[in-house]
């Protein structure tokens, strides 16, 4: 499945035989994928195949749901993030996350970013950090006059960009995005996509999306997930390749059916 064989340390995240469980239920099975530095990797697949579950495994957000466990490894910069001595808080500090539903803190726009920076011990100029984060998230011009209004007073698209600004304010290496645009209108969606291209220069991005065009347009690599096996209810990555290839000449028939809309 891996076509990319130049095994330089340009992979940020690498999974090895990853299996993810909710209690006894194995939601994701046998995932081996490598996420490349400063690239956008999209995860696509039908609903319920475990995309969010897999994404959350990349920064140990899964643990916040009762009864979850994993087998296999998730290697981040050469370290297994599930190793005993690893602190999940550290992991989430380096691997940020943006969620499907925009979820700014019910605090001011300013404080959304300032609080995040503060808990990580930021002692520099807060105003500068807030401004630069919002600027990188392409939100600064829209909110610079109302920094002290509640983050919840913004529109959905603005809220989502605030969440992105909040995530990048602490300079993670990877940003995980779970259907970040699914709650947004097409224009706001486009804004987010443009933003991703901009952010790609400094960050590695992994995004779950239901939107085929979005994956085709915005990503460099695409992982196709699907429930696998007969009678099995576990999702797995059935094909992982350059986006161009996935969308033009996929090697798996199921991928072809799915990306061309003939699925189901």
């Amino acid at each position: 499945m891996m076509t990319n064989n130049n095994s330089e340390p340009k992979y940020v995240i690498e999974t090895q035989d990853l299996e993810i469980y909710y209690g006894d239920f194995k939601a994701v099975t046998n995932v081996n994928m490598k996420i490349e530095h400063n690239k956008i990797t999209a995860i696509i697949g039908p609903s319920g195949c475990g995309k969010s579950t897999l994404l959350r495994a990349f920064n140990r957000m899964n643990e916040l749901y009762a009864g979850t466990s994993i087998k296999g490894n998730v290697i981040f910069n050469g370290q297994d993030i599930y190793a005993k001595e690893v602190d999940p808080v550290e992991v989430r500090y380096r691997i940020g996350m943006v969620f499907q539903k925009p979820n700014p803190f019910p605090k001011s726009i300013y404080e959304n970013i300032a609080w995040t920076a503060r808990i990580h011990g930021y002692k520099g100029n807060m105003d500068e950090l807030v401004e630069s984060s919002l600027q990188q998230a392409a939100l600064w011009d829209e909110v610079k006059d109302k920094l002290h209004q509640s983050g919840l007073s913004l529109s959905g698209g603005q809220q989502q960009r605030l969440c992105i600004a909040r995530a990048i304010s602490i300079k993670p290496e990877v940003i995980l995005m779970d259907e970040p645009a699914s709650a947004l209108d097409p224009i706001a969606t486009l804004k987010i996509e443009e933003l991703m291209q901009e952010l790609k220069k400094n960050y590695t991005i992994t995004i779950v999306t239901h939107n085929m065009q979005q994956a085709a347009r915005a990503s460099d690599y695409t992982a196709m997930m699907m429930l696998s096996g007969e009678g099995e209810r576990s999702g797995t990555v059935i094909e992982f390749d350059e986006t161009k290839k996935i969308f033009t000449r996929p090697s798996d028939k199921r991928t072809e059916d799915y990306v061309t809309g003939r699925f189901g």
Binding site: N59, F99, P104, I119
Partner: protein, 413 residues
């Protein structure tokens, strides 16, 4: 409705079924009305006793206090003070003078002291509000006939003075200040114990506890404790706070022994006992409030690499706080109304001095009501009724504030 053809084998009994429906509808509705009427009766019954005619006789006839031919009512303030000085023991006089010097008192106030300390009216009969309103003439006739020396007044047992006067054994001058202060002191320690531990336990169970047997035991145990009869907490308080921890709860440990108690039956013991009683309620209410904080907020916080406590402190607690406070206020109202455990812990039957430290003897408003209710004389029932009104008003305002809080801060998501 259109007549429906009778199908073979089915009786057309819709009429009868509908009549049965109406019958039971009436029954259900009537039950509800019975419930409401009961509440109204209960409140009316209290109000009925809290106001009405009182016939009282002077223990000392005011006519005997005429001085130089001037009747008592017309004497000047100085003459009244003189009268007090000559009639009361010097100790009693000085005590009164120390409370507030006679020079600073108005003539009205001095006259009041004379009524209380010298004339000392004695209640001979009381009437409820309803007869007082409907049969005033007969009451007057009865009094004129049976108690020719008595005076008849329409009184409200619930007055400002009633709230501010200390407890005494004289129904006409008794008040609930001692009891109210006792309740406040007690509740203070209740909150001090139950609020932090209760909220802490709720946070632990909702945010920290993993699903293992120990935490399940803790949760089940809390649910069970909420159903334990309050009197059992009283017995526990008696064994633990009054007896075992006596050096602490009586203040001996701190050398602060109140000579009149020194046995652990103190405000502190009472407050802690009620603290144990309401703890499970506070925990359960706080858990509910914490559970209502949406998952997305937790995700947002953990997603930027916040620790558990940072998440709890900065996001979960602020958002759950209105709910937690509402639940706490409701639990505290329960504590304020509790009587049985405090009787067991050892409320004092008659104290006329205000509690002044954690190690004071105590009485509370419900205890005071209990003690007055238990007296056979009607005037004490009236006092109990007035005290009940005070208690209900207090609880009602607490509940109203809880409702306000709930509405004011209702969900921001």
């Amino acid at each position: 409705m259109k007549e429906k053809a009778v199908v073979q084998g089915f009786a057309n009994n819709l009429d009868w079924r509908n009549r049965k429906g109406v019958f039971w509808h009436v029954i259900f509705q009537a039950s509800t009305i019975v419930g409401i009427i009961t509440l109204i009766t209960l409140i009316f019954n209290v109000i009925d006793s809290a106001f009405g005619y009182v016939a009282y006789e002077a223990r000392v006839d005011p006519d005997t206090l005429t001085m130089n031919g001037i009747p008592l009512e017309e004497q000047s303030k100085e003459q009244l003070v003189e009268l007090l000085q000559s009639t009361l023991s010097s100790g009693a006089y000085n005590k009164l003078n120390n409370e507030k010097s006679f020079e600073d008192r108005s003539r009205e106030e001095v006259f009041q002291v004379i009524v209380e300390r010298i004339i000392r009216p004695k209640v001979v009969r009381v009437w409820d509000l309803w007869p007082s309103l409907t049969q005033a003439d007969e009451i007057r006739a009865t009094v004129a006939q049976d108690f020719p020396k008595a005076e008849l007044d329409f009184v409200s047992w619930l007055t400002r003075d009633f709230v501010t006067r200390p407890q005494t054994s004289e129904p006409l001058t008794a008040g609930v200040r001692t009891a109210i202060l006792g309740s406040l002191w007690t509740i203070f320690f209740t909150i001090l114990l139950a609020f932090p531990i209760g909220v802490g336990a709720a946070i632990y169970l909702e945010e920290y506890a993993s699903d293992n047997w120990l935490n399940r035991v803790i949760q089940t145990n809390i649910n069970n404790l909420a159903g334990v009869p309050s009197i059992v907490y009283g017995i526990l308080g008696l064994a633990i706070f009054v007896r075992t921890l006596e050096p602490l709860t009586s203040g001996k440990l701190f050398g602060l022994v109140d000579l009149t108690t020194a046995n652990g039956r103190t405000v502190l013991s009472a407050g802690l006992t009620l603290g144990l009683l309401v703890l499970p309620i506070i925990i359960i209410n706080a858990q509910e409030a914490i559970r209502a904080v949406p998952r997305s907020l937790r995700n947002a916080s953990y997603g930027v690499g916040a620790t558990k406590w940072q998440t709890v402190w900065s996001h979960i607690l602020p958002n759950a706080m209105p709910g937690i406070l509402t639940g706490t206020i409701l639990a505290i109202s329960r504590a304020i109304g509790e009587t049985a455990p405090l009787v067991v812990v050892g409320a004092s039957t008659a104290i006329s001095f205000d509690p002044s430290s954690p190690f004071s003897k105590f009485t509370t408003l419900p205890i005071q009501i209990y003690q007055w209710t238990a007296r056979p004389q009607a005037e004490f029932q009236s006092l109990a009724a007035a005290a009940i009104l005070v208690l209900l008003i207090l609880l009602l305002s607490l509940n109203a504030s809880a409702v306000l809080l709930r509405n004011r801060f209702s969900r921001r998501f």
